[in-house]
Amino acid sequence: MARLKTGRKTLSDDQIRKHKDFRKLRANYDEAVRPLYKKPLYRDKRAFLVLLIILLLTYIISEITSREEKEMQEKNKTEQRQQP
């Protein structure tokens, strides 16, 4: 839905001109068309965060599996000792 109102707001040429900046546009264009692999990872906050989460998850999973393996080995050892 649209809001209808009578009377138009106007802007002066100066008010419009102050937003005009081709250099900024050119920089934003470069940013938009630059391939992802060329962007340094530390500059892209989101990619950096995703990578950090992946590394953290990998570390946690590897820790859990190695701990489980150790426990299994110890359990096997104690079972072997208990057997006559």
Partner: protein, 191 residues
């Protein structure tokens, strides 16, 4: 000699195409097109948002999209400005859909007078109020067509290009909208 489309001469269209072709090969050469169309695009968006900061932001998006897609632009009798307005039209619609905000339609006193005449009514305060009420009953896409034609006085070919309709389809739709408005005004609004 003036071309009948958008009242531009062949020389003007050729000069513009030369600018477009230059910009296709080198993004730095987009600057003359940016200079030429910044203000019209800014005002096109501002009329629909009435928010200066938001307009500046959306205008920036429009020109980035234009720079990225300029290679796809081919002259088919429609000037480059209409292509830019189409991008702006889509950006505005996308913004309001995402933000779930109401779009502003600001109507000048002369626009109301013009529309009253088109709807076959004389201009008076009572008729203006009725017309505002009737406009409020139109669907958003219908209101957009009314805006482009009666408040901005754009040619049908340009309206077609901006909204993605054919020129004839835009004419037919606007004729039907006008009939709908007339009926609402005659029946003192029921639809």
């Amino acid at each position: 000699m003036k071309d009948n489309i958008y009242h531009r001469s062949k020389e003007e269209i050729q000069a513009e195409m030369a600018l477009v072709n230059a910009a296709k090969g080198n993004p730095d050469l987009f600057a003359p097109l940016y200079d030429k169309y910044y203000k019209p695009v800014f005002l096109f968006i501002f009329r629909r948002t009435e928010d200066e900061a938001l307009t500046a932001d959306l205008t920036q998006h429009v020109f980035i999209a234009a720079m990225i897609n300029i290679r796809r632009f081919q002259f088919k009798g429609v000037p480059f400005s209409a292509w830019l307005y189409r991008i702006a039209f889509n950006e505005i619609n996308m913004y309001f859909r995402k933000a779930k905000r109401e779009r502003t339609v600001s109507i000048g006193q002369s626009d109301l007078k013009h529309l009253c005449e088109e709807a076959g009514e004389s201009e008076s305060e009572a008729n203006n109020a009725l017309l505002m009420k009737a406009l409020g009953r139109l669907r958003d896409d219908e209101l957009q067509l009314v805006e482009l034609r009666f408040f901005e006085q754009r040619p049908f070919a340009e309206i077609g290009q901006i909204t993605g309709l054919t020129e004839n389809n835009a004419k037919v739709k606007l004729y039907r909208i006008l009939e709908k408005l007339k009926n609402m005004l005659k029946g003192k609004i029921h639809e």
